[in-house]
């Protein structure tokens, strides 16, 4: 069958499945709409959390980023999984015990203040909307490549489908659809990885394959890759860090506490029946996430090796990578390269006019590599590969059958759609429940509250779509900013709300605002105010990464520290929280007496 037809069938079938589930499980009450009626089994919830969590960035961008970064890419792996330990131990069980629908509701009640709740709503909206941009960019990439349309059309199509789908479902529909999406995306991720691992190392488990020897040799895959990339002037794969060690440290920490503070992930733990289930559910979520996250580094290293092997025949045969006939003839390049060139995500330019493709690091500081390239008559790197295509093009690079490529297309879309639905749920709950019901129209009927939730979803999709068309960077880079915001504002406030009985509203509000402000200030200085191009103000803060060489994506941990410090100072100068609030904190700390999640007060 034609590749394009296979892809249409694969993607079409998966969409039909999601819509069928959404219709079967559609929500009737606000409790079903926001918290799936509090009746989801912990393993089911773990799987849904995994799909909710693993976004276009995890599925599409992460392995590509790791392939480019090498060892330093481990910060994404450790950061995005380590956060679950914090979530499971510090937040999830206590928030489940508290028993309300949303994060701002917890902050509002715990800090006995509508103001605190409003600040939380603002933080939540900023984080969720930033996060959703990454999903939209991912949807655009997947659609444009697989359905043969432009990236813009892809984003419009994605907006339409997400809208249909999130409005149908509510939390209950979203949960069960996400279970299906998890299965699609995990198969899509692991099946090609198994094929590729078998082909390169003879080991079917990619996690072991990455640590194995190349087929028919006694050289390990990683040392082979190390020698090829260093010879071509790139940094050594297994040791290159992301900026300085300090930056990698802080970046990892930001992703960890950001993960724990993301409202759409926290919300998932309101859907399980008991506190006990909330604890184990976080563990199950991490198991399902780890299946992808431990495969990703194998995909990254193997795709990188395969890519080099595709354009340079000496990679697999051995011999001189700089030999004249080692680089492949451009005319004879594989079809998948031509297909990706159409999307603009892969570019080839014959700089030295020899009709062959030379792929190397022309900005290398490795003098041996520079000298060899000059001696071979290479006039600059001729192949540019966008990191976002590594996973999507992976099966094509490894020459796998068409159905695998179709599966990956469906998987990429499943990842983006499931996360977008979860985010829209968090946004809609914050607007309709925390703003409209709790602040503006307290006597709103249940029916109108549902309607308000759906309208706010629609508005959020339009904003996200517009930002997706004018994206501030890599899909994963954009997502990392959302983490900074969640890390610097929400996580510290919730944690202090549980672990510090004496924390009062003045401290919490000042802390959140300070954390959010420093983080946004640093990020906007680099990326432009609200990511609008040309409004960056780097000179004002003394140039890029001026704060100890920390990149804006890694700044969330600093913001969180500022939050804790400011809250700690302010609480000393203001009066202690009232006795009934302190009693409430005591009650939240023990599991007994947990009840079904409700929105009432």
């Amino acid at each position: 069958m034609e590749l394009q037809t296979t892809i249409y069938i694969g993607v079409g079938l998966s969409f039909a499945l999601y819509i069928a589930i959404a219709i079967w499980a559609r929500a009737g009450s606000t409790s079903e709409f926001y918290a799936a009626g509090g009746s989801v089994h912990p393993i089911t919830n773990g799987m849904a959390t995994a799909a909710d969590w693993m976004s276009a960035a995890s599925f599409i961008s992460m392995a590509g980023l790791i392939a480019n970064m090498g060892y330093g890419g481990g910060l994404f792996l450790m950061g995005w999984t380590g956060g679950y330990v914090l979530l499971a131990m510090l937040l999830a069980p206590y928030l489940r015990k508290f028993g309300k629908f949303t994060v701002p509701q917890f902050i509002g009640d715990r800090f006995y203040s509508k103001g605190a709740s409003m600040v939380a709503v603002i933080c939540l909206l900023t984080a969720s909307i930033t996060y959703i941009i990454g999903q939209m960019t991912g949807v655009g990439v997947a659609f444009s490549r697989f359905l043969g349309v432009s990236s813009e059309t892809g984003i419009y199509a994605g907006m339409g489908i997400v809208f249909l789908y999130a409005v149908f479902g509510g939390m209950k529909g979203i949960t069960y659809t996400q279970v299906a999406q998890y299965i699609v995306l995990i198969l899509a991720y692991t099946v090609p990885a198994v094929f590729i691992s078998l082909a390169l190392t003879g080991n079917a488990l990619p996690q072991l394959g990455l640590g194995s020897n190349m087929v028919g040799t006694d050289i390990s895959l990683l040392s082979k890759l190390d020698s090829v990339v260093t010879d071509l002037g790139f940094g050594q794969y297994t040791t290159t860090t992301a900026g300085s060690t300090l930056n990698m440290f802080v970046y990892t920490l930001s992703l960890m506490i950001g993960t724990a503070g993301l409202p759409h992930v926290i919300m998932r733990f309101f859907t399980v029946p008991t506190v006990k289930d909330a604890r184990s559910s976080a563990g199950w979520a991490l198991v399902f996430i780890a299946i992808l996250y431990t495969t990703a580094p194998a995909v990254a290293a193997m795709a990188k090796l395969n890519l080099h092997a595709t354009v340079n025949t000496a990679v697999m045969k051995g011999g001189d990578l700089y030999a004249a006939d080692a680089s492949i003839v451009a005319e004879g390049r594989p079809d998948w390269m031509k297909r990706w060139e159409k999307t603009g995500l892969l570019k080839f330019e014959d700089k030295n006019g020899d009709g062959r493709i030379q792929y190397y690091n022309d900005k290398s500081k490795n003098e041996a590599a520079v000298a060899k390239a000059a001696a071979a008559g290479w006039k600059g790197n001729e192949l540019t590969v966008n990191a976002d295509i590594i996973v999507l093009a992976n099966p094509e690079i490894a020459l796998l059958p068409n159905w695998v490529i179709a599966l990956v297309a469906a998987g990429g879309l499943a990842a983006a759609l499931s996360t977008a639905a979860g985010l829209l749920m968090a946004i809609s709950a914050a607007v309709s429940h925390d703003l409209i019901k709790n602040v503006f129209v307290p006597d709103i009927s249940e029916k109108n509250e549902l309607l308000a939730g759906k309208v706010s979803m629609a508005v959020a999709i339009v904003i996200a779509g517009w930002l997706g068309l004018n994206p501030p960077g890599f899909a994963a880079g954009t997502v990392a900013l959302a983490f900074g915001i969640a890390a610097s504002s929400l996580f510290p406030a919730i944690m202090m709300g549980i672990f510090s009985k004496g924390m009062n509203k003045e401290g919490a509000i000042a802390g959140m605002l300070a954390g959010l402000f420093v983080t946004l200030f640093y990020v906007f200085a680099h990326k432009g105010i609200f990511f609008v191009k040309g409004t960056d103000f780097l000179p004002m803060i003394g140039g890029a990464n001026s704060f100890f060489g920390i990149t804006p994506e890694a700044f969330g941990a600093v913001g969180a520290l500022v939050n804790f410090i400011v809250a700690g100072i302010v609480v000393k100068m203001t009066k202690a929280p009232p006795a009934h609030i302190q009693a409430m904190v005591e009650a939240v700390r023990v599991p007994r007496g947990s009840k079904l999640v409700t929105g009432s007060h």
Binding site: I66, Y71, G73, G74, L75, L77, M78, T81, G82, Y84, V85, A88, M89, L90, P93, Q207, L208, L210, G211, S212, N213, S220, L221, L222, S223, T238, T239, T245, M248, F249, T252, L253, M256, T274, V275, K276, R279, S280, A282, G283, L286, V287, A290, Y293, T294, P297, E586, R589, V590, P591, R592, G593, S594
Partner: protein, 86 residues
């Protein structure tokens, strides 16, 4: 002397458990995966340099075990201090 089963004692036991888990959590990720990665890379685990393995694989496995261990120990604490659900 009778063992203290008050809610303060329960909370103290909880904090102690959390602290222990978080120390190991930081050791495998920030320690083995980042700060000591260079040193550990001299040791090999199959084809993996060990520091690289921690950053790309090992830390994740440890995290999973930690959450289930935490869930188990907390459930035991709940029963011991008689604060468990139903």
């Amino acid at each position: 002397m009778k063992e203290d089963l008050s809610s303060q004692a329960y909370w103290k036991a909880t904090i102690k458990l959390l602290t222990n888990i978080l120390i190991l959590w930081a050791l495998v990720s920030f320690g083995a995966g980042i700060l000591f990665a260079d040193m550990l890379n001299k040791i090999h685990l199959g084809g993996y340099p060990l520091g690289f393995w921690f950053a790309h694989q090992g830390a994740i496995y440890v995290f999973i075990v930690q959450i289930f261990y935490y869930a188990k120990r907390m459930n035991d604490l709940d029963v011991k201090f008689d604060v468990h659900e139903d």
